[in-house]
């Protein structure tokens, strides 16, 4: 177990290092000079030089990479080119929106997916099952940004129940904050709920086919009782994997939804920073997101190995 753990840890670190190299050097190629963006169209060449000097853009790329990486390790993410504030502070501010949004969306997704998945597995082949499966097909097919636009149209513009975007800040009250995250969370949750419901249903069906459950049914448990007492627990592993992946996806993948609702979250930060050539912010946020995904995968793998020793030898 320890050997497996260390091996996985090693490959995790290798992935992170390669990812950081890729991110840094791809962004080095991005055409566009942060200095000229900041100074606008009438700036003179000497002004630009002065600013580049100030921002440290005159150093050679390997030096900049090293100082970036050593900063990341020690928690110093550098200073944003455009806002001139520490990147770490900006990221943590944005996380206060992205993280609650991801959790909120995930909760909605789970609340919808569990009953839907369990009941349609329990009544496989029934009208209910067909209906749910049809609905999930539709849920997967709807682009979430379009769904978001429709939500805005009905609930913000027509009914005035919610605001069409923006975030008042948590200091304006928790309820106000949650209210402004509600439409985005629903828009994000719908496709995720559809996927989750399908995964839950099929993994329940797989477990139900296994011998011990057949035995349990033979002993007189109804299908529903069998699901609740035995199958659900055993079907959880693939479901938890999906939930883990969805969480990291929601953290990074909310970018378009954050744009639709003008939420100052992480994805929007990256998008703005790319437009403003605030590369140091882009690099750091991307690295953070990659880190999140790699950690989730790592945790899932280690959990698997712990639960099921056979997994240690092979890979999914």
């Amino acid at each position: 177990m320890l050997r497996y753990f260390l091996l996985r840890l090693g490959s995790l670190i290798a992935t992170l290092v390669v990812a950081s190299l890729v991110i840094f050097f791809v962004l080095e190629v991005v055409p566009g000079d942060p200095a000229s963006y900041m100074l606008g169209i009438n700036a003179s060449e000497e002004t630009l030089q002065a600013l580049r000097q100030e921002l440290g853009l005159n150093l050679s790329p390997p030096l900049r990479y090293l100082s970036w990486i050593s900063g990341l390790v020690t928690g110093d993410f550098g200073t944003s080119y455009t806002y001139r504030t520490p990147v770490a502070g900006m990221i943590s501010d944005r996380l206060w929106i992205s993280l609650p949004l991801a959790i909120y969306a995930l909760l909605i997704s789970i609340v919808i997916a569990f009953p839907a998945g369990v009941f349609s597995a329990a009544r496989r082949g029934s009208g209910f099952d067909t209906g749910i499966m049809g609905a999930t097909q539709l849920g997967i097919a709807i682009p979430n940004f379009w769904f978001a636009m429709m939500l805005v149209f009905f609930f913000a513009i027509k009914l005035h129940w919610f605001s069409a975007g923006g975030f008042p800040g948590w200091d304006q009250g928790v309820l106000n904050g949650l209210k402004s995250l509600t439409l985005p969370a629903i828009a994000l949750a719908l496709p995720q709920a559809s996927i989750l419901a399908r995964v839950l249903r099929s993994s329940l069906l797989d477990v139900l086919n296994e011998d011990y459950l057949r035995t349990a049914r033979a002993k007189g448990l109804t299908r529903k009782q069998a699901i609740i007492r035995h199958a659900l627990r055993n079907a959880m592993i693939p479901v938890l994997t999906i939930i883990g992946l969805q969480f990291s996806f929601l953290l990074a993948g909310a970018i378009i939804i954050e744009n639709v609702f003008f939420l100052p979250g992480l994805g929007r930060l990256v998008f703005q920073s790319i437009a403003q050539r605030d590369l140091i912010v882009v690099e750091s946020v991307l690295m953070l997101l990659v880190f999140a995904v790699v950690m989730v995968t790592f945790a899932v793998d280690v959990m698997y190995a712990w639960v099921d020793p056979r997994m240690r030898g092979r890979r999914k």
Binding site: P34, E46, Y83, V152
Partner: protein
Amino acid sequence: MLKSFRLILFSLLMLSGVTAFAAKSGITIGMQLEPPNLDPTGGAAAAIDEVVYANIFEGLTRFASDGSIQPALAKGWSVENEGKKYVFQLQENVQFHDGTAFTADDVKFSIERAQAEESTNAQKGLFENIAGVEVLDDSTVVVNLTNPDGNLPFNLAWGDAIIVAVESIENAKTAPVGTGPFVFNNWVQGDRINLKRNENYWGEPAKLESVTFKFISEPTAAFAAMMAGDVDAFPVYPAPENLPQLEADPRFSVVLGSTEGETILSINNKSEKLSDRKVRKAIAHAIDRSALIEGAMFGYGTPIGTHFAPHHPAYVDLTANSNYDPELSKSLLKEAGVGNLELSLKLPPPAYARRGGEIIASQLRSVGIETKIENLEWAQWLEQVFKGKDFDLTIVSHTEPMDIGIYVKPDYYFQYENAELQGVMETLKSESDDEKRTELLQQAQNIIANDYVNGFLFQLAKTGVANSKIQGLWENAPTQANDLTAVFWAE
């Protein structure tokens, strides 16, 4: 259990309700773009001035709503030595927000700082002609010029020429300290900036206690924020398509004013195909300005025929010079002997460019000019078009006041060079007689219009929306600013 739950719910409601019950002594101003920092002397972003100009920072002189130049930190000035020496009398008993006194030394420091080699001032040109600054006493400053210039008070009114203090300049990007009627309070990056009234203001104090600038770039969200009352005024409302709807609502008033934004179809005059005046003339006559203004701006905008603001007294209406005449375009193209003209059209993000670009592309296509549209972010636009000059056509609004001077810089991105115009502008520099200045300016307007340097489209309208009870907002935008000194809520 239930009781404590109710208590929690109640306190949550209270928390959320606080802002709704607050008395109206503050105002929330919507802005489309967030400033990258708050130091107007170290960056070009218009959003910086929209927050700080006349609110936090003041210069020796300032723009008034009608575009005229008014005294600010300078009480008055006299011109000596045939226009080469300005003596400014400063306001006395003025304090910066941090309590330090404003003196002539601050003026010297500010101007010299802007001129310095390591300065990152985006409008260094404004200070080019200044040979030196002398402090006579605490409240008298002399500015010596290399060449006579009647424009100095105008130049010093710009946001890039505001007066800063040596004690506080270091943190101006995130915590600006000025002399203005409002004091910087806090900034939630990505969302809003809050200012508080300066209780020790040297002049007439502001009527509002606090001001919040809220950044909403998405037009749909801007509309919803206005409707919901989250924002009290949007001085430059981003979506002209919603204006009729807002105008019909008695809660709001829509204020139409002018800006300094000449929106032009810039033509790369050094590009092989476009160096021919006939081709440029053909392009100009292919554009239907009224369809463009209707389609891209939903009718808001004034057609222009040259690079000059229509509300300026020296403006000449030259739109007839490039009226919509597709047949003329076709015959001009034939005369010029260019068949199958294919041009690149690179568009920056604003709606006037993106929408306008599609309309112009379609209009050009109907006279036989194909365009290849490329939508760019500002950074790419600056890199490729503005610096790289790698383009045939682009659409951009030139929002600097009185910027016809860009036509005498041959290395400016549209690369126009004309000795006659350069002569006219040179004479203008040292001319201080108003009548003669007007004459020269009109000559310049005619030259560029007749040379079809660029496709002159329309003057950007300032389409502001505000709660009907708000009084005192600027109607026009002589510079990009939201001067809130005189704003108040009517009962």
